[in-house]
Structures are given as structure tokens and as C-alpha cells.
Amino acid sequence: MTCDAPTPAGGPAPAVWRSRGTGRRSTRTLRVRVCAALAAATVLAVLLVPPLVQLDQQAVDLAAKLLPPSWEHPFGTDDVGRDLLLRCVYGLRVSLLVGVAAALTATVVGTAVGAAAGALGGWADRAIMRVVDTVSSVPHLLLGIFIVAMFRPGVWPVVVSVALTHWLSTARIVRAEVMSLRARPYIDAAVSGGASRWRVTVRHLLPGVLPQAGLAAVLMVPHAMWHESALSFLGLGLPAHTASLGTLIQTARGSLLAGQWWPTLFPGLFIIVPTLAIAGLAGAWRERINPRRRSELML
């Protein structure tokens, strides 16, 4: 039978194009932009405010203690009359430093341990993962307190404490990723192509898990910030005169009962907003590295 659809072809390609799913994309873009703006504002504030504003965050003004927010002090003042906005920015600076440093350390340790376990396999894998299980069976905060207590209060003990309690999850993620990649035929092909164990790990396995590890690192920054705040809040982290978001909330605890809300609210917001912004960006990143989305062209 001949074709029953003789085409009126020859003319130009049809002009009416329909799209799908544009609405969802635009809200996603908006979300990413808001998160990026907030994260950028956080970083800029932390980097630029201290050198630009030549004010002393430690300046005590007992005449102006516990003032509610005003034009002069947008976030109000604390119980010894220090400007809270300035204290919050400095606190955020310390918290972010601790968070980033701890997350980086934890990621490096976790990736190394996880990759070793996944790439070696066998009894080495079992031994390493039992150590991981043992460490993670101790409550994080308790372990963190234990580590901090061994040192003089300061920034680096807190970083070490947070890092040493947070590498476990990264190690697990990396190990699982490495194990799943190791079963791929392309690893077989590399082995057959004469690649050494080291080369297979470094050139084929690790780069494959780095996006996941990076994502875990980014998500860990807010987590580490919270951990630092918790330690400081308990009085175990940073010395009370060093402004960190945790110490700020801790010292403001008493005023809250007296109806003074600003010394707790603003530091609290300074923890929550960057946390959400970073988590939002990390979520967008996760969608990007998802292999199903990566090739949008489905050929």
C-alpha cells in the first residue's frame, strides 16, 4: 500500500513551537538566585565590614546597654552596650571560618578514608568501616566536647572537634560511590589497559566521587556552624569575649527572660539564613550533577 500521508512538504519547518515545563524552571532559577544573593551577601559582609567599618566591636558602652533596635544600632545593643550588628558580623565571621575549615578538613579526611575503603575492598574495607562505625556510635556532641576539653579554648580546637566528628558521613558516602563506580565496565577497561591500582583510584574513581564529596562538604558548612554554636553555647567552644554566633546567643540567654528579644533573635537569624542559602545552593548543585539531568538532550 502506498503512503496515505502525502506530505505538503517543501514549505519551511512549522512555526508553532510548544515548550514544556518552563514554569518550573523559572522558579528553580529564582530560588537559586535568591540563595546565591544571600550567600554572597553573607560572604561580603564577613569580608568587607570589619576592614571598612572602623568601629570596635568590643567597645563597651555601659550607658547604652540593652537598647532595642534603632537607627543608631539597627540590631540594638547587648548587656554591656556593644553594637549587636557589629557583634553578629564578627560572630558570623568566626562561625563561618570554623564551619568552612572544619568542613574542608572533614571532607578531606572522609574522602581519603572512604576512597581507601572502597578502592581496596575486602578485609581492608571491612576493617576501616568498623572503625568508622565505632567512632560514629559515640554521640557527636559528646565526642566533640571531649576533644575540645583536651585543649585550651580557642578557634582551632573547635575546628578539630567539629572535623573529627563529621568526616564519618563523608567517608560512608564516598565509599558507597566508589564501590558503585568500581563495578562499572570502564574500570575493567582501565585495568585491561594496564592502569595501576593507584591510577585507577586517582584518575577514574576519585574524580567520579568528587562532586558528591564537594556537595557533602558544602552541606557540612552549616552543620559545622551549628556544631560550633552548640559548643560555644555550652561554654566549651570559644572564649566568651570572642564573638561567635554561639557565644552571642549564650550570653543573651538571660535577657530573653527579661523580654529583650533582639540579642537572641539576630544572632539566630545569622545562623539560619546563611544555612538555608548554602543548603539551597547545594541542592541546586545536586540537581546539576545528577547524571539524569546532566544530559538534557536525550539521544
Partner: protein, 236 residues
């Protein structure tokens, strides 16, 4: 000579997917291994290419029994095999451009001189354009990627080729093109071939002889009996 003797292999203890299978490939011979999907023929191919350690049985390569597999196998032995797998998507490191994919075995074995020329030569042999060589796997089609995977398998000039369902995902024209490349290489180098597949027409056309999975142990035994024990053959 590549001899698989009474190979039993699998991934889970006490549940081997390959049981007591023997197969012999003469130098320069092309053997097609035909069998239904999931019967274990791919596992046998991996054992033959030193990629999977069998639970029992011996692999004798040119008269010498092989005792180590994967990374433990000496590099010259591992690289004597070129392997091509069924799914090009899974067989290519997604981060490497096709050029690096083909060059990877050269880099891994430290043969960097003349690398670019060797890659270019192979690319033209398998029909990849320079433009395609600069792309990463998700930017090319299955057929193009499989061409690159074949080029990678040939880049170290292996003495044996193991093609595990190399053309199952490909259209007729690409299949014919890749088989032609393999045959050209074999004609030039005298390499042996183990082609695993499930398409009898294709394997019959491609290979010197086609064996069916079901008949394997039975077929190999008489040959084994009739030959002198290879351990006694002085190794060249």
C-alpha cells in the same frame, strides 16, 4: 593459545554463574561464543581477559598458566587483551573526552611518545572525526562512543581481543563497520578473538567457528585429551 580449562566462576560464594566450562582459542583464531542472555558467557569473557578471578579452573595463556587476575596480573599480560563491552555508556569514563579515552591506556602504561599520532591513526581507523574526539561521552551517540571504546581496546596492540556483546546496542551499519575494524586489525596483527554474542547470524559471519554455550564443556574435553599437557611444552 588461550585455553580456559574447567573454569568455575561467579560473584557470590557457592552460586557460580559459570560451572566447569572449557574453551580453547588458537592463535589468530576467531571464536564466537553464542548463548542466551544471563547465561554467564560475559563472566567467562571477563575471566579470559584476566578481569575476574575464577573460583576454580585454570587459564593457560601461550602455554603458561595464569595465576593472578586484575591488578595482581603482570601488566604485560593484562594489556595483551583488548576488551570491548556491551554498553558503551558504562564503559567510558564520563569525564574524559574521547581523545583521552582512547589515549588512556597509553598514558597508563607510560607510552607517551607518539601518543597523538597513535590516537589520530586509530580514530581514523574506527571512523571518528577530530571534532568528535574533543567531545565527552554524553555528547556523542552510542555508536560513536562504541567506536571510541574499540579504538581504546586496540591502542596497545593487544594479541587477543575480547568483544563482549560489542554490537548488541548498535544498528546494522555501525555493527558492520566495527566488525570490519576488528577484522582489519586481526588481519594486520594476527590477533585472536573471542566474540561473545547472542546473534548467531552475526557470529557465524564474523568468526572462524561459533560455539554454543550449552555445548561448551562437552566440546572442549576431547581437544584437551588429545593434546599434550601444556605445562610440558617449553614456553617461548
Amino acid at each position: 593459545m588461550l585455553e580456559l580449562r574447567a573454569i568455575t566462576a561467579g560473584y557470590v560464594k557457592n552460586a557460580p554463574v559459570v560451572r566447569n566450562v572449557s574453551l580453547t582459542i588458537a592463535p589468530g583464531e576467531a571464536v564466537g561464543l553464542l548463548g542466551p542472555s544471563g547465561c554467564g558467557k560475559s563472566t567467562l569473557a571477563r575471566v579470559a581477559a584476566l578481569l575476574h578471578r575464577p573460583d576454580s579452573g585454570t587459564l593457560v595463556l601461550d602455554g603458561r598458566p595464569v595465576r593472578r587476575w586484575r591488578h595482581r596480573a603482570p601488566r604485560e599480560l593484562r594489556t595483551a587483551f583488548g576488551v570491548v563491552f556491551q554498553q558503551p555508556r558504562l564503559s567510558a569514563d564520563p569525564r574524559l573526552a574521547l581523545r583521552d579515552l582512547v589515549a588512556e591506556p597509553l598514558r597508563a602504561t607510560g607510552r607517551r611518545e607518539g601518543l597523538a599520532e597513535r590516537v589520530a591513526e586509530l580514530a581514523s581507523a574506527v571512523g571518528l572525526t577530530p571534532d568528535l574526539l574533543g567531545r565527552r561521552p554524553h555528547e556523542v551517540s552510542d555508536g560513536q562512543l562504541q567506536r571510541a571504546c574499540l579504538a581504546r581496546a586496540l591502542v596497545l596492540r593487544p594479541r587477543w581481543l575480547v568483544c563482549d556483546e560489542m554490537t548488541a546496542m548498535l544498528d546494522a551499519s555501525t555493527t558492520a563497520a566495527l566488525v570490519a575494524v576488528v577484522e582489519e586489525y586481526r588481519a594486520a596483527t594476527g590477533a585472536g578473538l573471542l566474540a561473545v554474542g547472542h546473534d548467531r547470524t552475526l557470529l557465524d559471519r564474523w568468526c572462524d567457528r561459533t560455539v554454543h554455550w550449552e555445548t561448551l564443556p562437552a566440546r572442549a574435553r576431547p581437544a584437551e585429551d588429545g593434546q599434550p599437557a601444556p605445562e610440558r611444552v617449553p614456553a617461548g
